[in-house]
């Protein structure tokens, strides 16, 4: 079935591609397109970070019975731009007896890892920069580079608070990565592929979270918890527990270097939500019901990137909601939660998922004619 999709960007992208291919040699066309995509991704990265900082502060305010930023611009909407300018013109303080090279290199690990993960996310129909065959594995791999930056930052700052914060963060991130990876693997079992575009395509009529019902739901919740923990945000923000560690691993950073950590933290929150959306909630796929062509057409009028950002925004809201509800965990409780609760459940869950898939208990197997597969 072909639906009208008036607001999609696929046509624009195809035209651009044709334009470059026509006027340049194939090699230079690829170079120019690559550069354009790079610029687009970095710009999107910055814009999303600014928007998220504003949204986070506003929502935080609401959860605390405050209004949040409300002075600069309508409803304080350009507050985060002012903050960005402020952070850009701040002095970078040089630390005596710090390991200079590692100290300056550390933020780039963090931001680089989140940028690389960001690049592989399918934002909409035809809006994915790289579509690896091993997409899910790639995401897990690049997002674990970030912890290197955190550890280096803590070690090179020559400061005990930073060191403790970094060790905590390292222990936490590495442990929870395990859970995140396992829950993603659960979905890979269900979808039968690691390619993100195919995972999205396979959720055309039923999202993975419904298709795999109980095991998928468990995997979804575990992914949210561990993704949350991986990004070091409350209630798992003990690497930077202000009361104990001043600011944790980035205590000694100032100016734009601190800005990198700040940016990466927000973007990681977005990336976790985006991965969860793509893998569990159908990604950019509009809600469609097999056979209801009129309904599907209406849904397709809403462009796919709106669907993607809408679903992601819901998950981000959930993450903020959790952040402002639960108190911070102690480090041993945190590790207990991972190793004694989440990991066993996860291992059990992945076996359950294999059984579900093999025994044909997924929704698509049980009711094939509902989803146009019969």
């Amino acid at each position: 079935m072909n639906y009208k999709q008036p607001l999609e960007l696929t046509g624009l992208i195809a035209n651009l591609d044709a334009f470059f291919r026509e006027h340049l040699s194939p090699f230079w066309a690829s170079v120019v397109e690559g550069l354009l995509i790079l610029i687009a991704i970095v710009a999107l990265y910055a814009v999303i970070a600014l928007a998220l900082i504003y949204v986070e502060r506003k929502i935080t305010g609401f959860f605390q019975s405050r209004l949040g930023p409300n002075r600069l611009g309508k409803y304080g909407s350009i507050q985060s731009i002012a903050d960005m300018i402020k952070i850009l013109i701040k002095e970078i303080i040089h630390i005596n007896r710090a390991d200079r090279f590692l100290f300056y290199v550390a933020p780039f690990f963090v931001i680089g890892s989140s940028l690389m993960a960001f690049g592989a996310i399918p934002f909409g129909k035809g809006l994915q920069a790289v579509d690896f065959k091993m997409g899910v594995l790639y995401l897990i791999a690049v997002s674990s580079i970030g912890v290197l930056g955190v550890l280096l930052a803590g070690w090179s700052s020559n400061n005990k608070y930073s060191m403790l914060g970094a060790m905590r963060s390292g222990a936490q991130t590495i442990s929870y990565e395990l859970s995140a990876a396992f829950s993603l693997m659960t979905v890979v079992v269900l979808a039968g592929t690691m390619q993100l575009s195919e995972i999205v395509e396979s959720q055309r009529y039923v999202w993975n979270i419904f298709n795999g019902h109980i095991p998928a739901l468990v995997a979804f919740v575990i992914f949210l918890i561990s993704g949350h923990a991986e990004t070091n945000r409350g209630p798992f923000d003990l690497p930077e527990a202000e009361g104990e560690l001043t600011a944790g691993y980035h205590t000694e950073y100032s100016g734009i270097q601190f800005g990198y950590y700040y940016l990466a933290e927000y973007l990681n929150m977005f990336i976790v939500a985006a991965i969860a959306t793509t893998v569990f909630l159908g990604g950019w796929m509009p809600i469609q019901v097999h056979g209801w062509d009129g309904f599907n057409q209406v849904m397709w009028y809403i462009p796919s990137y709106v669907w993607f950002f809408g679903k992601t925004a819901l998950l981000i809201f959930l993450s903020l909601w959790v952040r402002w509800t639960f108190p911070r965990l102690r480090i041993d409780i945190l590790l207990n939660l991972e190793w004694k609760v989440l990991l066993p459940i996860n291992l059990f869950n992945i076996v359950m998922m294999v059984i579900t898939v093999l025994a044909g208990w997924t929704l698509t197997d049980l009711f094939p004619n509902l989803f146009g597969l019969a």
Binding site: I59, G61, F62, F63, S65, R66, L67, N70, W321, T325
Partner: protein, 159 residues
């Protein structure tokens, strides 16, 4: 086996309790916000009467105040914030009498302890809750409280 059952029930209890907490914050999210947007709400702003921010010397309609220039407030002020200058004049019936020349109060060094008001035997001064006292330099914080041309209210008149 018992341990396993406890392990599993613990997980469900934990989930239930966490959801309960999220319910509380959900209500809070939609609750009325307590933030006061100050310059906009100036008309409806309520400042408690007990709030002390500006020292005043109330004058009546005849431009008369109750300060006898005794200087007790000046002596009691822990910060040397008040200075009372007076001069002695001779009244028609030949009595010598002290009159107030200038009563200056420096808001910049006042801690709003209220000792001056409490110790004044004539109840000549009072604090108001007019809190918008910000000025651009500290010289402007020195106020003269007695109005020009004002004089002491005669005791008999009030009785």
């Amino acid at each position: 086996m018992k341990a396993l059952i406890k392990y599993i029930t613990d997980i469900f209890v934990a989930i239930k309790n966490l959801l309960k907490g999220m319910g509380v914050t959900w209500k809070q999210f939609w609750a009325k916000k307590v933030t006061m947007e100050y310059p906009e709400n100036r008309d409806t702003l309520v400042i408690s009467d007990r709030w002390r921010s500006e020292l005043t010397m109330p004058h009546d309609e005849n431009n008369e105040h109750a300060c006898t220039a005794c200087g007790i407030c000046m002596m009691n002020c822990p910060n040397g914030t008040i200075s009372v200058t007076s001069s002695t004049v001779e009244t028609e019936d030949g009595k010598k009498k002290r009159v107030l020349d200038a009563y200056t109060w420096n808001q910049g060094s006042c801690t709003f302890c209220n000792l001056c008001v409490l110790t004044c035997p004539s109840k000549a001064i009072a604090f108001t809750n007019d809190f918008e006292g910000a000025v651009f330099n500290k010289e402007k914080l020195i106020y003269r409280l007695n109005q020009p041309g004002s004089k002491l209210r005669e005791k008999k008149k009030t009785q």
